[in-house]
Symmetry: C2
Subunit: 203 residues, 2 copies
Amino acid sequence: MSKNKNTEQKIFEAATELFIEKGVDRTSVRDIATKAGINLALMNYYFRSKENLFDAIFANLVKKNTKDLIKIMDSDLELNDKISQYVSTYIDILIENPLLVSFFMAILHRSREKITEMDVIHNLYGREKFTQQILDEGKKGTIKKTDPSHFYVDMISMITFPFAIKPLIMDKNELNEADFMEFIAYRKIHITQMLKDSIKPCP
Amino acid sequence: MSKNKNTEQKIFEAATELFIEKGVDRTSVRDIATKAGINLALMNYYFRSKENLFDAIFANLVKKNTKDLIKIMDSDLELNDKISQYVSTYIDILIENPLLVSFFMAILHRSREKITEMDVIHNLYGREKFTQQILDEGKKGTIKKTDPSHFYVDMISMITFPFAIKPLIMDKNELNEADFMEFIAYRKIHITQMLKDSIKPCP
DNA sequence: GTCTATACGGCGATAGAC
DNA sequence: GTCTATCGCCGTATAGAC
């Protein structure tokens, strides 16, 4: 406490960076110890095993990065505004940490069996209030009859997937890092427009 | 040749299945040898290393699964038909092998550095003829001014991403395997409609 | 081409001194 | 709490007999 950072925290942060950057299976506990500037044995003192450390890190990453999104989803905003804000905020989060999607997809393949058992995962997908808003609007006839589960899948697909295939997009369109971020920033408007078009009937 | 399957082929097929199922880094060469029913040393006789074998397998998987899609993209079909056929064919391919997307995403994280250097990867993304068709239609004024690179990203995002988050979709919507496939099948119509709406102006 | 046997290093994990 | 030292295992890769 009186120190700069406690050891547990140093291990946790070093491992987080390495897991995201190199992947869990290509990061050794020795890598983590070196990066954290501590001894190998300390990892096992604080966390029982590498897999245990991974579980804690993954839960933390999900929680930290979905906090703002959940707040928006559960808010009293009107549907159109909610969509705009969600898209924009989500993209901002991923611009801050572009490897997050790719890392998360890798985990989804690696830990298929246990992923739905992780409590924190249930924050991620399909909030009730938002779902209800889409259904309500549909009943009022102001929007097309829209299946909320497909709407939600469309939305997160278009937001997140481009980050997963970032190297391909950059290569094919000959973009550098800054260009890619511009490409992504444009998608805020583009995706919002597509989603609104998909629920609003032609006048 | 006179035998049931030659050894090289047995290794190749066993490794392919294991890589897709468990991931490359969690598959050992001993796993592969056992599954192929051959000796460990044979792997190194035919392929120089595990990484080498992986490269061959990955290239083969991309080639095999994009063949039909490229044919459609490069065909003389009219734009609307081309979109419908592409979406439908792509989804059929993934229904046949639902782990393919998830596996591919994991590789995109694992092998970020070398992925764009793999020749075969350039088949995957943005075919010239299709791009030109979108631009041409835009000029004719029959569709909204649409950026082909965003259109393409939208399309593959909405097609493939749901397979990557399959466990989450199944869990949240309480779907079993058959339900999920029904959910996916419905997306053929849904995605085609969304894409057409995104380029066709309201009448 | 296919096998047995084995080298060698890195892995995750722990015992035990301080 | 933190270290050194080491265990036992499994990873990839190879040498050499058949």
